[in-house]
Symmetry: C2
Subunit: 472 residues, 2 copies
């Protein structure tokens, strides 16, 4: 089947079915994505305010064979929010579905529409003395519907899981226009196939998430943050193991940073205070959230002493105040911005089994060295085995100098990740950027099942065509 | 399409493709289930030892249009392991795929074949100083493949989640015979649709799980157990809320028991020591697992004092030794056996939103009272909103006296659960017992999606036909 471009006649037909407020001007922002790799050519922007309006749009698009590209906060990093060129789609923005429908504090549940900004969920949870733990750099503009559609990760996955793990129920519209009212607050519900998890992470290719029942958590009684210097990635894993034995689930985040990352920060954001006299080769940002009766600063001091005695850490700072905690986190949270200012040749959102991390880091350098001279800023959620392995030009060179090597770099690094049993998309998804990677590295039986499911639920292929799976 | 009965000719054709050891005598146990509601009529028992043998069997069955009923430990409570009458199926037992393939203690991962007994996973985890938290009454005979296929719950869901939450990756054979090698140990992997969670909980209707990569956890440094007397289900919820504020994720289990349950225990198992002079109306079994530096007994004492001051608890015992902890747990763990000895009229594995639990319990009694006089043993995982709401004849009557009322009881209770936003199968699944309930209470859009997925992945309908979805 071939999809059509949306026309003025389609717009008029939809205007007869939908309130005027649904039609919004197509600002340039809807055709852009953060890294500038993909650019949309146009389309009809629709911003429905209710699930019924979303249903009306999908029914119409399905009957008229129009492509529908769901749009959340626009912060995705793999081009999943930008239509492929050559055909004008409906751009379906969830920005007007931005209501908190209900908060059940005693049940630790919040019901939010898809357009709610992630940071708003943080403040809504805090207002009832709870925590919504999903947190990532784009939290100020990312919308929860997009976070769910891409199964977003971030810095608290180690303790609380990714977006998938934080969702109890969904309201969604299937490609047929049928509404699935699945906003359950239940912790246990074994009635049939797991449609919730099928939609989560399907990147808008199987339907549109319009609202979600999300888990809240008690706020830890005490929090603490430390930045500890480790000799190597191996030592970072040893420290993680030691911290887990001592503190169990009390570890909220465990983030690795390299010397290159701190040097990028020093060069691009000199206003950020760096805690060490000389930039350490590797450091780990540890965040603890502990129950009543435990002192996080004392726990971090105890961990430091034990790790120092074992030769795992050589230096460190333990935040003594909220301000100091924020200052340490500012280093980690500004790494993506520093990277943007330097200008990367390529970015790789990879995961490997925990034990294979040191090998990944060492052999990744070798693979790159065989191609050219590069700087590598390798950082991230080491507790999850998830690294952002980003490649930069040497000083004096530009990313344009390496444009011809980008494909070679990607293949070398992704082949290595695959060999080590890892994933070439740990938390960002497939989008349009990694469709070929999925075909190259994905298991054939899983790919066949995915294609069968896509055809079964979206026989006309209207939902986000070309994302995740090649059009066909 | 119509499925055929397996014949001697089929057996001979399979004998040419499979080792002799795969063919085992069909003992009566394969045709029975724990509550005696379903009985199989026969079939060909096959017990493959490798995923390739499973693939051979499914390819053959798919080509010959033979029904395949996967069989784990046989402990399922909804008849999902027993073929519908009228057609001899292949009964595919995973009992010979019972190897632990690998343990990655530092990564907190164990890779187990589907036939591994749940209790074996507990001991394998303990041997490396870790915890595998899935635990339920049938742990001595249930096999992990069946636990995953039914998304089993149990007593530790509150803290660690259900079977779904404990699984990182799967190896499975799809109905086509294709093998999905998805045994990843990754904590983050966003490469495509969530086939893992689609297979988990699909009760053998979409494929056969042959192995799983499962999460292990650090063992809590200190554990403690208490049985606290509460005035009412409302008070139990108040206690839960208070305990969460104080102890966060330290609460491993929070189980409600009624006077009726303790009276059943006293009547059928007088050898079990009951801790209170008179049987309390409601009691809660709390289990804590705390990090280093916290004393679980002191934490329980603190909770008791705080809850007593708030008027939430009126009495209680806190275990002072491992033996006392076991004695308290023995009360909870023997409730199903006591129920069996009494003989229930009907059993209901339900969940409702936490805040609706008291209303469910009160109105359930009213609904039953309008039908006849019954005893109710309502107990279970109140922290998850999950109750086993089981109905018994009055003394002097038998379950047979109420056979004619069973359908009416079920409809009355399930309608109430549905009205309260609950689930009529919290943790046991649909199997063959609740197919009509799913049709009655399930969302039509979700049901349509389920049928489309089933047809897409199993076009000939060979996998566990009639379970979850009506044959069609």
């Amino acid at each position: 089947m071939t999809l059509a471009s949306v026309t003025e006649a389609h717009r008029e037909a939809l205007a007869a079915r939908l309130p005027e407020a649904v039609f919004r001007p197509l600002a340039p922002a809807y055709l852009e994505e953060p890294r500038g790799r993909y650019r949309g050519e146009g389309g009809l922007l629709l911003a429905p305010a209710t699930v019924e309006e979303v249903s009306t749009i999908l029914r119409f698009a399905n009957a008229e064979r129009l492509a529908v590209v769901p749009y959340g906060g626009g912060t995705g990093l793999v081009g999943g929010q930008i239509a492929a060129p050559g055909r004008a789609p409906i751009i379906l923005s969830l920005e007007r579905m931005d209501q908190i429908r209900a908060v059940f504090a005693e049940e630790n549940v919040i019901i939010a529409e898809a357009g709610v900004i992630l940071e708003t969920l943080h403040s809504e949870a805090e207002a009832v003395g709870r925590l919504f733990p999903l947190s990532l750099a784009a939290k100020g503009s990312a919308r929860i519907g997009g976070n769910l559609a891409t199964n977003a990760g971030g810095v608290n996955v180690l303790r609380y899981g990714n977006a998938r793990d934080l969702c109890l129920g969904l309201e969604a519209v299937l490609p047929s226009g049928e509404i699935w009212h699945g906003l359950t607050r239940l912790r246990k519900d074994n009635t049939g196939y797991d449609l919730r998890n099928l939609l989560i992470g399907s990147e808008g290719t199987l339907g549109v998430i319009t609202a979600a029942a999300l888990k809240l958590f008690p706020r830890p009684a005490g929090e603490g943050t430390a930045l500890l210097v480790v000799e190597s990635p191996e030592a970072a894993l040893g420290l993680l193991s030691m911290a887990r034995a001592a503190l169990g689930e009390g570890i909220s985040a465990f983030e690795l940073m390299s010397a290159q990352g701190l040097e990028f920060l020093a060069g691009t954001m000199p206003e950020l205070r760096q805690p060490f006299g000389s930039v350490p080769g590797w450091s780990v940002l540890i965040e603890l959230g502990l129950a009543r009766g435990l002192d996080p600063v004392a726990a971090l001091e105890g961990l430091f002493v034990e790790a120092a005695e074992a030769g795992l850490v050589s230096d460190g700072v333990i935040a003594q105040s909220g301000g100091q905690r924020e200052a340490l986190w500012a280093l980690r949270e500004n790494l993506p911005e520093a990277n943007r200012r330097i200008g990367s040749v390529s970015n790789h959102d990879i995961s490997v089994p925990l034990g294979a991390l040191p090998e990944m880091i060492a052999r990744g350098r070798e693979e790159l060295g065989a191609i050219d001279a590069f700087r590598v800023n390798c950082f991230g959620h080491v507790g999850d085995g998830n690294l952002h392995y980003n490649v930069f030009p040497m000083p004096g060179k530009t990313r344009a100098d390496h444009d011809h090597q980008r494909a070679e770099i990607k293949t070398a690094l992704h082949d290595l990740v695959h060999e080590l049993g890892g994933s070439v998309s740990a938390e960002h998804g497939i989008g349009r950027m990694k469709v070929e990677d999925l075909e190259r590295y994905g298991n054939p039986a899983k790919l066949a099942a995915m294609r069968a499911i896509k055809s079964a639920l979206d026989p006309n292929g209207i939902m986000n065509p070309g994302a995740v799976l090649r059009e066909g």
